[in-house]
């Protein structure tokens, strides 16, 4: 329908609507533009595009866990991002070069004694963490890694060769400058170590179990031996008594049986032999005592294990008490409902009629 066909009133109305639509479209466009601008700005801030930055690099053994754009941390803050990861030449000692930018003001914290440490994440990722410098007791002169003059950055050059002190670069850094090198301490990967440890434990566990089985067998054997040893000792007891009696008689200096009936040499030999018998018995007794002590320790350990179990049970009692309090709370709720005038009719009324003394009349004279 052409606009000319409309009545003047309708045309006036349509004009007004068009104005509002146009206004709405303009406002919406402005809002969208603003939102996009804000998003672009926040992204730029997040990525450090709006900040001054200086380049660094470090050398690591593996690029595993790194990717370009990953944050570089300093004192818990995001201080920069990784800009490039590249493998080194095959003949070089270090395998990988990781380049990263550090934003202002964080590069002010990085001195020539700063270093890089690798932090492993739970999911296998790695984070570079640079350390604050200027506080170590190095032999060389401590200096900031960069200085800014007239909007240009000059890099600190550590002494090399015969030089005793480092110096600032004569020319400001340019876009091709690779960066100041920070030494990387590749600490042992904790997760990897833990995994290795777990693997080793897993591998060793059957051995441990077999060892414990062997210990068990040994203990059983010891117990059996001990019981039989006790029997033997008991059997030996009268013999030892007899030996003691004989030796006392034999060793009785004057008028003793030994001196009287047995020649002195033989007497001495007999005494020595009997003495060694006694010593053997005593040694056996000592071994038995030691064995029993070891068994006792084993029993103590067992008692400790059971006491730990008991603690577990006691800890569970807290859960039981929680359930108990829940029941009590529920009871309170129900008691509260009972008091409500509208709901109390739903609960059966309490019968508080006092009890009566029971008395039945006597039935008949025959009984």
């Amino acid at each position: 329908m052409a606009l000319n066909d409309l009545t003047p009133q309708l045309r006036t109305q349509m004009d007004r609507v068009e104005k509002w639509v146009g206004f709405f479209v303009v406002i919406a466009s402005l809002i969208a533009l603003g939102a996009m601008s804000y998003y672009a700005y926040s992204t730029a801030v997040r990525k450090g595009w709006t900040k001054k930055k200086v380049p660094y690099f470090t050398l690591v053994s593996s690029a595993e866990g790194f990717k370009v754009g990953d944050p570089v941390m300093l004192m818990g803050f995001k201080a920069g991002v990784i800009t490039a990861i590249s493998p080194n030449a095959p003949g070089e000692y270090y395998n990988v070069t990781v380049q990263f930018d550090i934003w202002e003001p964080y590069y002010g914290y990085l001195w020539n004694d700063s270093d890089v440490r690798l932090k492993s994440g739970l999911l296998g990722g790695k984070t570079l963490e640079v350390s604050k410098g200027g506080q170590s007791n190095m032999d060389i002169k401590l200096s900031a890694t960069y200085k800014e003059e007239d909007g240009k950055f000059y890099v600190w050059q550590d002494p090399s060769g015969d030089e005793k002190e480092g110096k600032w670069s004569s020319e400001p850094i340019d876009k091709n400058f690779m960066g100041y090198m920070l030494f990387c301490y590749e600490a042992t990967d904790v997760m990897k170590s833990a995994n290795d440890l777990v693997n080793k434990v897993s591998e060793g566990l059957p051995g441990v179990l077999s060892l414990t089985n062997k210990i068990n067998e040994l203990l059983e054997e010891s117990t059996r031996l001990m019981s039989s040893a006790i029997g033997t000792v008991k059997e030996l007891e009268p013999i030892v008594h007899n030996v003691q009696a004989i030796t006392s008689i034999l060793t009785n200096q004057h008028g003793g049986l030994g001196e009287w009936a047995i020649p002195p040499e033989m007497n001495k030999e007999i005494v020595d032999t009997l003495g060694s018998v006694k010593g053997t018995v005593q040694t056996s007794e000592t071994n038995l005592v030691m064995l029993s002590q070891n068994l006792n320790e084993t029993l103590v350990n067992l008692a400790q294990i059971t006491s730990n179990l008991r603690e577990q049970v006691q800890a569970n009692s807290y859960m039981l008490s929680s359930i108990s309090s829940l029941v009590l709370d529920l009871d309170d709720l129900v008691q509260g409902l009972k008091r409500n005038w509208l709901l109390k009719g739903s609960f059966s009324p309490q019968t508080n009629a006092p009890p009566q003394s029971v008395l039945r009349p006597t039935l008949g004279g025959k009984r």
Binding site: W341, S357, V358, P361, G365
Partner: protein
């Protein structure tokens, strides 16, 4: 439509307000745990006693009495002691029952509970010492006279008269017993149906003792129907025994023995061994007298009928 909706909104609003006002009702005073415990135990004792488990009842009432003694609730302790005493009496522990009833009486000192204790003591002493019973009865009758018990505590007075009448009947003074019970029955409206039934049954027994078997049989027939209405197996058995005795008195030997056997069986099933054995002895005597072959009679016992009586 709009009005209806507004009315509904208003009703909801009012109900919500009332609900929340109701919620703010102050909580009742909490019952201390020992009191609550004693009350629970007391309720258990009542249930046990109503179930006729006299052994458990004796023990439970003893525990209730001990708990109330600790709480210094003397009135409830006395009731518990009384009920323990009654349970002991039903268990045949007469000495224990007597001691407990005396203790309850010493707590009550006076009032209706004291009278109940005394009447129970009369019942116990009926089994133990007739002399004590005689003496106590005289004292109580005198006291009832002076304290105008008939007007003040009519139900208790009726019970006392029942005890007096049954005592006289036992002593062989059937006419006196008849008169006493007749007088008590004038106040039958003051007592419950069970007591009224007991009075009527005692009256029927006095009729028996006086040789008025027709009147007694009529009474027993009526009493049997009432006992069935009351659904009290003990009363049913008692009524059957009464019927049997009356029938024997009327010369209807065979019917008498049949009914007496039913009554004896009922007592047996109720665990009332003494009553049962007494009835069996009576049956034996009747059988010897009438020379009715015992086996033939036993063979004709309608056990189904007997079962159904107890079941009622």
């Amino acid at each position: 439509m709009k009005n209806i909706r507004e009315s509904l909104y208003l009703a909801c609003f009012i109900f919500s307000g009332l609900f929340f006002i109701g919620c703010s009702t102050p909580a009742p005073e909490p019952v201390p745990y020992p009191v609550h415990e004693a009350e629970l135990l007391e309720a258990t004792a009542i249930n046990v006693m109503e179930a006729g488990n006299w052994k458990a009842s004796e023990e439970t009432w003893g525990e209730v009495a001990r708990k109330y003694a600790l709480l210094d609730r003397r009135d409830r302790q006395a009731i518990a002691l009384h009920n323990q005493s009654y349970s002991a009496y039903r268990n045949g522990n007469y000495e224990s029952a007597r001691a407990l009833a005396s203790e309850a009486a010493s707590i009550n000192l006076q009032g209706s509970e004291w009278w109940k204790n005394q009447i129970l003591l009369l019942q116990i002493e009926q089994k133990t010492s007739q002399e004590s019973r005689q003496k106590r009865m005289e004292e109580l009758l005198s006291l009832a006279e002076t304290s105008n018990l008939e007007e003040k505590e009519t139900a208790l007075w009726v019970l006392l008269q029942n005890e007096y009448g049954s005592g006289l009947l036992r002593e062989g003074s059937a006419d006196k017993a008849n008169a006493v019970i007749h007088r008590a029955l004038e106040k039958v409206n003051a007592v419950d149906r069970s007591t009224a039934w007991a009075l009527n049954s005692n009256l029927a027994e006095t009729e028996e003792a006086l040789g008025r078997y027709d009147a007694a049989l009529t009474s027993w027939n009526k009493l049997l129907e009432e006992a069935k209405e009351l659904a009290d197996p003990e009363l049913i058995a008692t009524a059957l025994a009464g019927q049997g005795r009356c029938l024997w008195g009327l010369g209807r030997d065979y019917e008498a023995i049949m009914i007496l056997q039913r009554a004896a069986k009922n007592f047996q099933w109720l665990g009332m061994e003494k009553e049962s054995s007494e009835l069996f002895e009576l049956i034996e005597q009747y059988m010897i007298k009438s020379a009715v072959p015992r086996e033939s009679n036993v063979m004709h016992i309608d056990t189904k009928t007997a079962d159904s009586e107890v079941g009622q």
